[in-house]
C-alpha cells in the first residue's frame, strides 16, 4: 500500500503547480500562482486539496525592466482554495474548485481591502494513459469552464473597485488543458512532465474582459524514499491585453517566465503537505508600466481517499 499510494500522491501533487491555476482567480494581470491541483484520481477515488496562497504583485515593470517605484505601493492577493476531484468511470475524472480571495492595494498608507468569493472552475478530464506497472507514460486532457459565482462588484466608499481588485472576474471562461508525464524509474517516483493550458475569457457585466491566456510548463519531480519529495518547474505564461467594450487596455498582458520550486511532505499514505514558491525569471510586459509578480508562495494540504 505504502509503495503504491505514495507515488500516486506524488504524481497528483506534481500536477499542483499546473499553470491552469493561473487562470482561476481574479487577479487581472497578476494571476495567482495556482489554485487548482488538476489531479486525476483513479476510478472511485476522491482527491481533496486546500490551498493557501500569498501573492505579492508590487513589482513595477516597464517592458522587461524593473523600475523603482517611489509611491510606497503594495499590491497583494491572498487566496484560500478548496478543490475536490473524483475519479469517474474508466479514464474520466471530474474536478471542481472554489476560491475565496482577498485583494489588498496600499499606496502611501492608504489601503483598499477586498474579500470575497472568487470564480469557480469545473473540469472534466480524460486520461488515456497513466504511469503504472505497465506504463511509464501519463497523458491527460481536460476541458472546463470558469464560472463567475463570486463577488465581482466589490466597492469601497460606494465606488466599484478596479477589475483587478475584484475577487471574481465576473465572466465565464473556457479552459483547455493537457498534461503529459514520463516516469524515469520503475517506481514512478522520478518523473518529468509538461503541461499547457489555454483560457478564453468572456466579458463581464461591465464590458470588461481579461486577456485570453496561454500557459505552458515543464518540470521534474522526485519522490525520495523518505516522506520528502521535490519538484522544480519552469512556468511560461502569455496573456493578451485586457479589453473593455472591445478596446484594448494599455499596460495589461505580456509574457512571464517563472521558476516554481516545491517541496512536499507525506504525512501518511494518503495525506501530504506541499509548499511552493514562484520566482520571476524574466518577463516582457506590454506597454510602459505594470505592477506584476514579485513573488508568490503557496501551501497545500491534500488528501486522497476512497476505494
Amino acid at each position: 500500500m505504502k509503495k503504491t499510494i505514495r507515488p500516486f500522491l506524488a504524481a497528483l501533487l506534481s500536477l499542483s503547480v499546473s499553470p491552469a491555476a493561473a487562470t482561476t482567480c481574479s487577479c487581472a494581470n497578476v494571476p495567482l500562482l495556482g489554485t487548482m491541483e488538476l489531479a486525476t484520481p483513479g476510478d472511485g477515488k476522491w482527491f481533496l486539496a486546500t490551498t493557501y496562497e500569498f501573492h505579492d504583485a508590487s513589482e513595477l515593470v516597464s517592458g522587461s525592466s524593473t523600475i523603482p517605484d517611489n509611491t510606497g505601493r503594495d499590491r497583494t492577493s491572498e487566496a484560500f482554495v478548496v478543490e475536490v476531484s473524483r475519479g469517474l468511470v474508466g479514464q474520466l475524472s471530474f474536478s471542481a474548485m472554489l476560491a475565496a480571495v482577498t485583494h489588498q492595494r496600499t499606496v502611501g498608507g492608504i489601503r483598499d481591502n477586498v474579500t470575497g468569493l472568487g470564480d469557480a472552475v469545473v473540469m472534466l478530464k480524460y486520461s488515456p494513459a497513466a504511469i503504472s506497472l505497465y506504463s511509464r507514460n501519463a497523458l491527460s486532457f481536460g476541458v472546463g469552464a470558469q464560472l463567475p459565482v463570486g463577488e465581482d462588484a466589490a466597492s469601497s466608499g460606494g465606488i466599484v473597485l478596479a477589475e483587478d481588485l475584484q475577487p471574481s472576474t465576473g465572466a465565464f471562461a473556457g479552459l483547455l488543458w493537457v498534461y503529459a508525464a514520463r516516469s524515469l524509474n520503475d517506481s514512478g517516483g522520478a518523473r518529468v512532465y509538461a503541461s499547457a493550458t489555454y483560457q478564453n475569457n468572456g466579458e463581464n457585466d461591465r464590458d470588461y474582459q481579461f486577456g485570453h491566456s496561454t500557459t505552458a510548463s515543464i518540470g521534474a519531480s522526485y519522490q525520495t524514499q523518505t516522506p520528502w519529495g521535490f519538484n522544480l518547474e519552469l512556468l511560461y505564461r502569455q496573456a493578451e491585453r485586457d479589453e473593455r467594450a472591445a478596446a484594448e487596455i494599455p499596460n495589461t498582458g505580456g509574457e512571464w517566465l517563472d521558476l516554481v520550486p516545491a517541496v512536499q511532505y507525506h504525512i501518511n499514505d494518503s495525506m501530504a503537505l506541499r509548499a511552493s514558491g514562484k520566482i520571476p525569471l524574466t518577463r516582457n510586459l506590454n506597454d510602459q508600466l505594470q505592477f506584476t509578480t514579485k513573488y508568490a508562495v503557496r501551501l497545500t494540504f491534500s488528501w486522497v481517499f476512497g476505494d
Partner: protein
C-alpha cells in the same frame, strides 16, 4: 505595509468573510462620502490613491537643455506665464504624473493634466479656496481626473473645476491661464522659457507614451455618461462654456494662419484665437474692466503676438497687451480649455460645434 492576515488564520478569515466587500482607509481629515456627482459614474482607475505620483518638487531646465532631446517637435506642452516667467510642462512627463504642485516665485499653483481627456488646468494654490497641494486620487469621473487636496481630502473634478466631495464641495478654484501647443511652437515663441525637468524624483521612460494608441484611436478606457458622436472622440477641441451653453472649436480646423473669431457666448463677447499650423488656440473675453469691448485683428507670423485691436494694442497668446496704450493689461479669462471631443461632449451636453 501593514498586513492584517497571515498564515492559516487567513484562510479561516477569508472563508468566514467570503460574502464579498471592500473597505478603504480614509485619508486624514476626509469628511465623508458626500459626492455631488453620480457616484455610480466615479470609477476606480486602478493605480489607487497616489498610485500615480504627483510631482511635488519640480525642477526646471533651460529650454535648450540636452535632457529635452527626447521631445518630438509635435509633442504637446502646457505653457504657463506666472510671476513674469514662462514655463512649459511637456505632456510626455505629465502623462506619468498628472499633477505638479508648483511654487513659482510668488504664487503657488497646481497644474494638472489628464491624459485620458487631454485636459490641462492650472489653479491658484495660494488663495483661500484651494490653499493646498494636490494628489492623484486614482478615481475618474467620466474618464477625467479627480484630484484630491491634501489639506482636507476633498475630491475635485478637473473638468468641472470644482470640489465634488468633501468639506470644499462646490468651491471653485481660481484659474490660471494655460496654453497648450506643440514643443516646436513653444520653443519658437518662448526660447528663453524654462521647462519641467525629467528629474522628477521618479524613474520613468518619459519618451514612451504609456497609453498605447489611445491618443488617436476611437476607444475609451472607461465608460462615460454620454457619447456624443458628432466628431471623432479624440478630436482636439478648445471649448468655452457659460451656464448651460458651450461651444467648441476644432483646433486642426482653424486656418493655417492665425485667426480671430468674434463670438458671443451666453451674451458675453469673446475672441477665439486659433492657428492650426502652430497647433494653438485660446479664448478670452473682449470686454475690459472699464466696459470697453475690443475688436481684434490677427497678426501673422509673430507668435506669441497673436492680434491687434482698434486702439493699436498688440496682444499675445496669453491675452496680455504687450504694446500700445493698454500695455500690461490682461484680457479676462473665459471658462475655456482644450480637450478631446468626447470629454467635452460628455461634460457639456449639446455643445455647439463651430464649423469653418
Amino acid at each position: 505595509m501593514k498586513r492584517t492576515r497571515t498564515g492559516l488564520i487567513v484562510t479561516v478569515t477569508l472563508f468566514a468573510a467570503a460574502c464579498g466587500g471592500g473597505s478603504s482607509d480614509n485619508p486624514p481629515g476626509d469628511p465623508g462620502a458626500n459626492w455631488t456627482i453620480p457616484i455610480s459614474e466615479v470609477r476606480d482607475g486602478g493605480p489607487g490613491k497616489d498610485g500615480i505620483p504627483a510631482i511635488d518638487f519640480a525642477e526646471f531646465s533651460p529650454i535648450d537643455s540636452p535632457e529635452f532631446d527626447f521631445l518630438l517637435e509635435n509633442d504637446y506642452v502646457v505653457g504657463v506665464f506666472m510671476d513674469g516667467e514662462y514655463r512649459a510642462y511637456p505632456h510626455p512627463i505629465l502623462n506619468y504624473h498628472e499633477i505638479v504642485n508648483e511654487e513659482a516665485t510668488f504664487t503657488d499653483f497646481v497644474l494638472s493634466y489628464c491624459p485620458l481627456t487631454g485636459t490641462a488646468m492650472a489653479w491658484d494654490a495660494d488663495d483661500d479656496v484651494v490653499n493646498s497641494e494636490f494628489g492623484v486620487s486614482g478615481l475618474l469621473y467620466n474618464s477625467n481626473l479627480l484630484l484630491y487636496d491634501r489639506e482636507t481630502g476633498s475630491h475635485w473634478s478637473q473638468m468641472l473645476e470644482r470640489a465634488v466631495r468633501g468639506s470644499r464641495v462646490g468651491e471653485l478654484p481660481k484659474r490660471i491661464q494655460v496654453i497648450e501647443t506643440t514643443w516646436e511652437t513653444w520653443k519658437a515663441m518662448y526660447p528663453d522659457s524654462k521647462v519641467l525637468s525629467v528629474e522628477t524624483g521618479h524613474e520613468r521612460d518619459y519618451f514612451a507614451y504609456p497609453y498605447a494608441t489611445y491618443r488617436w484611436d476611437e476607444f475609451l478606457l472607461f465608460p462615460i455618461s454620454f457619447d456624443d458622436n458628432r466628431m471623432h472622440r479624440k478630436r482636439r477641441v478648445i471649448g468655452v462654456h457659460s451656464g448651460a451653453f458651450s461651444k467648441v472649436y476644432q483646433i486642426d480646423a482653424f486656418p493655417a494662419e492665425t485667426t480671430t473669431l468674434h463670438e458671443q457666448i451666453s451674451g458675453a463677447p469673446v475672441v477665439v484665437i486659433g492657428n492650426s499650423a502652430a497647433n494653438i488656440a485660446a479664448i478670452y473675453s473682449r470686454e475690459l474692466a472699464d466696459g470697453t469691448v475690443l475688436q481684434f485683428s490677427p497678426v501673422q507670423g509673430q507668435l506669441p503676438i497673436a492680434m491687434t485691436d482698434t486702439e493699436g494694442n498688440e496682444w499675445d497668446i496669453f491675452g496680455m497687451a504687450v504694446s500700445g496704450p493698454r500695455a500690461g493689461t490682461r484680457l479676462e479669462m473665459t471658462n475655456s480649455y482644450t480637450a478631446y471631443w468626447f470629454a467635452w461632449g460628455t461634460f457639456y451636453l449639446n455643445a455647439e460645434i463651430h464649423y469653418n
